[in-house]
Every structure is written in structure tokens, then in C-alpha cells.
């Protein structure tokens, strides 16, 4: 299973939640599979998907799923400490760990060598850290959303590999405003 297969598999879970999606191929693949207003596509700022999702979860009550990657988490690893100390129960971080920098040509990341993001997350203070296969990710995510008392970090170990895809054609303000409309903040669209 690669990222595209996994994103397909979790579509039904994503549809009722607020989704922050990592820059590059993850967002482009998600857009291609099933574009939705409750998907916030990152067009820049690699590394910050988990942080944007955390800020959002702290600010309103809907469940937030940050879709992140191993390369991006490695770039902003302090995020796991912040999540371990501050994440509210309406927050789930899904790290799609394919051991490679998919958007830049599948160069290997350190999770393909010695680094375990599961161990890092636990060491950083995250309480419910689940490392699982792509197939097990659906159940792990459902459990995270159903648990109203705890936040979760799910590390989904999948294969590298991407589908050929175009950049997202929606402009950033449209992404922003339709997302905020879904939450109920923007009224004018």
C-alpha cells in the first residue's frame, strides 16, 4: 500500500472531520481522490501540518486530523513535545510514514534507517501512540475519533511511491474561506 491507496482507504473517516493536509503530493493526491471543503490543503510551510492542526483543535470543538509525513515531522520534531503536553482530545495526528521524501523524488528519510517516530513521540510525552500498517490505519483512526478523552498519534507504515499528479488549482484564500465556512465562521460564501 502506498500513500494514494491509504488516502483512498480513509476517505469515509475524513469526511466528517477537519483535515489539515501536508504540502505537496499528500494534498494533491487527496484533492484528486475527493476534494472537500473540510480539507485544508497546505501549499507551503513544510513541517507545519501537525502544528496547524493542533492550533485548530485548541480553538474549536470539531475533531481535527492532521495528515503529516515522516519527512515533515522530522523537519519539525519539537511538534511532538508540544502535542505530548498540550493536545486536546479532539486532535489526531496521522503520520504517513513511507520512509521517503515522496514529493521530492522519494529520497530516503531517517525513518528508513535508525529513527523510530513512535519512540520519539512516546519520549516526547505523547500518550496514545499507535504504529500500524496501512490496513490497520482505518481502525486506529476510528478509535482515535471515538475516544472523547484522549488525543492520538498514529504512525501508518506504508510503502513509498506516488501517482503522477498536478498541482492543486484552488487559490489559498478559497481554501481558507471554504474551510472556515465548513466550521461555521465564514458566512459570505
Amino acid at each position: 500500500m502506498n500513500r494514494f491507496d491509504l488516502l483512498n482507504k480513509i476517505q469515509n473517516i475524513l469526511k466528517d472531520n477537519l483535515v489539515i493536509c501536508n504540502i505537496g503530493l499528500p494534498s494533491q493526491e487527496l484533492y484528486k481522490i475527493n476534494d472537500q471543503p473540510n480539507f485544508f490543503y497546505m501549499l507551503g510551510s513544510m513541517g507545519l501540518s501537525s502544528s496547524i492542526g493542533l492550533g485548530l483543535a485548541l480553538s474549536q470543538n470539531k475533531h481535527v486530523i492532521s495528515i503529516d509525513g515522516d519527512g515533515s515531522v522530522l523537519m519539525n520534531m519539537n511538534t511532538l513535545a508540544t502535542i505530548g503536553n498540550r493536545a486536546p482530545s479532539n486532535y489526531s495526528l496521522l503520520i504517513i510514514d513511507n520512509g521517503s521524501y515522496g514529493s521530492t523524488g522519494d529520497q530516503r528519510t531517517f525513518t528508513d534507517e535508525n529513527t523510530s517516530l513512535k519512540d520519539v513521540a512516546i519520549g516526547a510525552g505523547c500518550k496514545n501512540v499507535v504504529e500500524c500498517s496501512g490496513d490497520e490505519t482505518v481502525n486506529a483512526l476510528n478509535k482515535a475519533i471515538d475516544d472523547k478523552d484522549n488525543s492520538y498519534v498514529i504512525i501508518s507504515k506504508i510503502n513509498s511511491g506516488n501517482v503522477k499528479i498536478d498541482p492543486i488549482p484552488i487559490n489559498p484564500i478559497t481554501i481558507r474561506d471554504r474551510f472556515r465556512k465548513f466550521i461555521g465562521i465564514v458566512k459570505y460564501l
Partner: protein
């Protein structure tokens, strides 16, 4: 404490209700005030760039965020400011302790001080430079301005303004 209280009061008057900080000794009093303030959200955060991401999410969730940091933090955050906050036009207040300005005892702080305003100017971020207590009265209007222009704005608090606020 008087200066710090005035700054927080004016930020709150400007509508700011979500605060993060990467610490600075000049921000210590403000952090102490916020830690005991039940009306707003406050948390420490390990790195400024990460804080920019959290602020972006807070804005999406209808909060008006502020990140408090040293001017060095701007250097850590340039890409997040440009390709997140500015790209999506998100209002965030940067409350900056302006290390390296006159009164500063640590010579090494002078480097970032020399280029802080140039960086902010290059980024086209509106600036409010506070060097006296009277300047602090402008903070609430200036904060509201961030929402009007949908942009991050920067409030710079000089070393000498903050240093005796014990």
C-alpha cells in the same frame, strides 16, 4: 510589571485571545500574567516556526492569535510567515522583545537587532515600534489592524522599555 500588564491589557482590548510564547527574560512578566489569566488561551511553545503553524490553526478556528518571542524568532520563521500566514492572509500579532537595542548587555544580540526591521520591511509586515510607555497605547488599535488587513503585524518592544519592568 506595569509595562507588561499594559501590553497584555491592550492586546486583549484589541481582541487577541490566543497566546503562545518562546521565552525571553523581557517577556517573563507577560508570561506570568498570561499563565494566570483564565480568559485567554496561553501556552509555551518550543520554537517560533512551529508557533506560526499553531497560530495559523488558531486563526482557522476563529481565534485571534499572538506569538511572543525575541526578534531572533523572526529569523527562525521567515518561510512559515510567507508561505503560510501571508499566503492564506492570516492575522497574527507578533509581540517581539527587541533584543540588541540600546541597553542590551549581550553583544551577540546586536546582529539580529541590526537586521530585524529590514527583514520585517522586506516581508511587508506592518510594524509598531514601542520605545516609551506612551507607545503602548497604540497596541490595541494596531492589533485590530492585523484583522482589517488580514496580515501578520509586528510590535517591537525596546530593551530599555522592558528592562526595568520588575
Amino acid at each position: 510589571m506595569k509595562i507588561s500588564k499594559k501590553i497584555i491589557d491592550n492586546l486583549k482590548k484589541g481582541g487577541v485571545d490566543f497566546y503562545l510564547s518562546v521565552p525571553c527574560k523581557l517577556l517573563a512578566n507577560m508570561i506570568a500574567i498570561l499563565e494566570n489569566d483564565k480568559d485567554v488561551y496561553y501556552s509555551a511553545v518550543p520554537r517560533e516556526e512551529e508557533g506560526m503553524g499553531i497560530c495559523a490553526g488558531a486563526y482557522l478556528g476563529n481565534k485571534f492569535p499572538c506569538i511572543m518571542m525575541q526578534n531572533t524568532g523572526i529569523g527562525n520563521s521567515v518561510n512559515a510567515i510567507v508561505s503560510l500566514l501571508q499566503l492564506y492572509q492570516m492575522p497574527v500579532v507578533f509581540l517581539i522583545s527587541y533584543r540588541g537595542t540600546p541597553g542590551e548587555p549581550v553583544g551577540a544580540q546586536g546582529g539580529m537587532a541590526k537586521i530585524t526591521e529590514d527583514i520585517l520591511q522586506t516581508l511587508r509586515i506592518p510594524m509598531l515600534h514601542c520605545s516609551s510607555e506612551k507607545d503602548l497605547e497604540k497596541i490595541s488599535t494596531f492589533s485590530k489592524h492585523a484583522k482589517v488587513v488580514e496580515s501578520p503585524v509586528a510590535i517591537l518592544c525596546d530593551f530599555n522599555l522592558m528592562k526595568d519592568d520588575t
